[in-house]
């Protein structure tokens, strides 16, 4: 009973891209941190979740979506900065496992803090009035807000690219992710750079949370599945590679969306199979440096 018309296919594709946009954002945050600090942030999903809650909370407080779109991620970023300074930093040089495990514990804490503050059922979140309704794309109606998601991601990726390519800080970060020695030679305090990058990464996680909030149920556990999925994206794209994060993010979104069309029940499994395949054929991922395997 498969009835796939071209327009349905197109619609499914756009849906996949919108979905992929969120994955890409998440993966960018994760990749920034890994590329620079070689820390796998297991609390990334939790930061995403916190972002979603704060987004909804500030929206209720200020009544202004755009304002909450700015404030909430910044607050998440601050939490990130604190976490790096007092929890992750003491672990540098203790082996790559320790920060990973610590952030795993941190995610547990963040989830329960949110439960305590906002309740276990989660918060009602609805699309901001200015972005409601569906747009006719010629091949079918598509929710305006999801188009906005795609747009917002594009803008953010562009901004980030400019920041990394055109600014001095960007230069330092790019250099640092290749070899922290270089940065030391440049006379920059590497630990400060790491600190800020961790903050930036978590801010982006928070932002993706705020953006995703209107499209899903905002509850304390929403980050758990998201974490696994953004791992898939970063690994497929190549740990620490930003272009990889974007490409893989969109790919995973599309793969999910297409499997959802052809074999809905296998949609979730499909992305893990994709990851397993990529890792076997090209363990370092699309854009990953083979060296990272050592």
């Amino acid at each position: 009973m498969l009835d796939i018309t071209p327009s349905l296919f197109m619609l499914q594709l756009v849906t996949g891209i919108a979905l992929g946009a969120v994955y890409a954002l998440l993966a960018i945050g994760l990749s920034l941190i890994f590329g620079m600090l070689t820390v796998v942030n297991f609390a990334h999903g939790a930061f995403f979740m916190v972002g979603a809650f704060l987004g909804v909370y500030f929206l209720g407080l200020t009544g202004n979506f755009w304002l909450s779109l700015v404030i909430a991620p910044l607050v998440v970023g601050v939490i990130g900065l604190l976490a790096e300074r007092y929890l992750v930093r003491p672990l540098y040089g203790r082996g790559i496992d320790y920060p990973l495990l610590l952030t795993f514990g941190l995610s547990y804490v963040l989830i329960d803090v949110v439960r305590a503050l906002f309740g276990i059922e989660g918060l009602p979140s609805s699309t901001p009035a200015s972005l409601r309704g569906a747009v006719d794309l010629g091949f079918g109606h598509f929710p305006l807000y999801r188009l906005f998601l795609i747009g917002a991601t594009a803008v953010l990726v562009l901004a980030l690219w400019l920041f990394l390519e055109k600014t001095r800080y960007g230069l330092i970060i790019r250099a640092g992710s290749r070899d922290s020695e270089i940065v030391r030679v440049l006379g920059v305090d590497i630990s400060k750079v790491w600190w800020l990058v961790f903050g930036l990464g978590t801010t982006i996680a928070g932002l993706s949370g705020v953006l995703a909030a209107p499209t899903r149920a905002v509850n304390p556990e929403m980050g758990i599945s998201v974490l696994a999925e953004s791992f898939v994206v970063t690994v497929v794209g190549g740990m620490g590679s930003l272009p990889g994060a974007v490409v893989a993010g969109l790919l995973v979104g599309i793969v999910f969306s297409m499997t959802a069309l052809l074999a809905p029940a296998y949609a979730e499994m499909s992305i893990f199979v994709l990851m397993a395949l990529v890792l076997l054929v090209r363990p370092q991922g699309f854009f990953g440096k083979a060296g990272a395997l050592g």
């Binding site: 009835d3 619609l11 899903r216 959802a260």
Partner: protein, 418 residues
Amino acid sequence: MNHQDSKNATAANRRQLLQLGAAGAALGTAPFLFNIASAQTATIKIGFPVPLTGAFSAEAQDQVRAAEIAIKEFNDAGGFNGRKAELLVRDDKLNPGEAATRTLELIEKDKVDFIVGSLSAATQLSINAVTRERKVIFNSISQSDAINEAKDWSPYTFHEALNPHMTAGAVARYAFPKFGKRVVYLTADYAYGHEMVRGFERAGKTLGATTLADIRHPIGAADYSSFLPRIQALKPDVLVMCNFGRDLVNSVKQATDFGLKEKTRIITPVLLYTARQSAGADAFEGVVGGTSYYWGIEDSVPAAKAFNDKFRKAHGGAVPSDYGALGYAGIRSVLQGVLNAKSTDSLKVSAAMGQLKYNWYKGDQYFRKCDHQSVQSVIIVESQSKGMKDKNDVFKVVGMENPNEANLRSCTELGHKA
């Protein structure tokens, strides 16, 4: 004192002896010792495993509140020749493994006489797996078709809640004639979801409804958008969301975004009071679904009025939720069974409960002989977003299907010797 009790008593003595030895041997572990199970007490102990943490904690807490009312009533009325009832609440974390362990704790350590509780198909089935082996009565207060089937059922198994088949059937019988016959299902891909679809299609066949597609989504999926274009393309009259709790909130919200409500009516077998509260009015605007209980029926059902008032009195004016009310009924049925059987012996109580004709809170009910399914009414409600009296006034009662065994799957179909 029944066989179970005496066995436990001797077990307890044996433990205490061994403990003396243990105490000596285990230096430094002394602090553990105070935990050792105490001897028998006269109270009637009812274990109450529910997910106090996890996605349905709101419902679970409501179940406990309501259950406490039932216990208090029983004790105020003098209990069972002086023996008072006691509620032992445990958190099963919505995790079947944890539920099984907690049930073992309740039976082996706390020596409970009965178990009432659970808030998911999976946990109730794992609780049931433990209780039936140990010949302890378990009255389940959450939905599942499987628990009635001979494979899982035992004489000690009771099902106070609705089951998917009844609920789905009732909603179908209300909605299909009204909203149209071309139906698409968006189904959470697990037993509960499949059971719901089966219920709808069974009822739909007689009503001449046609299934355009049954789209299965992974349970707990965060994003449903990728399932929706297909549904849009099919242009159904009715979209049935065969999922529960957060999945329902998510999928309805996203379906609304995709503008599905313009041409299609969204219905769902179980419209949760708490889910509606947490998702907000917009998302559920105009959604029709079934429920085992809604406080609003008190205008037409005296028992409901009485129950609501008790609940309001005990909990500062709050009204009971659907699953909360089941906590109350579940306890009352068991304790009534004790009174009628004049014993706490599992078999005797089971027999007495089988005889019950009761009206605790929503009108007349009774347990069907073959599978101990509580035959009861199903209430059809529609979520409303305007003209609400207060924050509790979220649903409009649009229909009620009276208790009728004909709406259940037959005993033989379930594998019972009718």
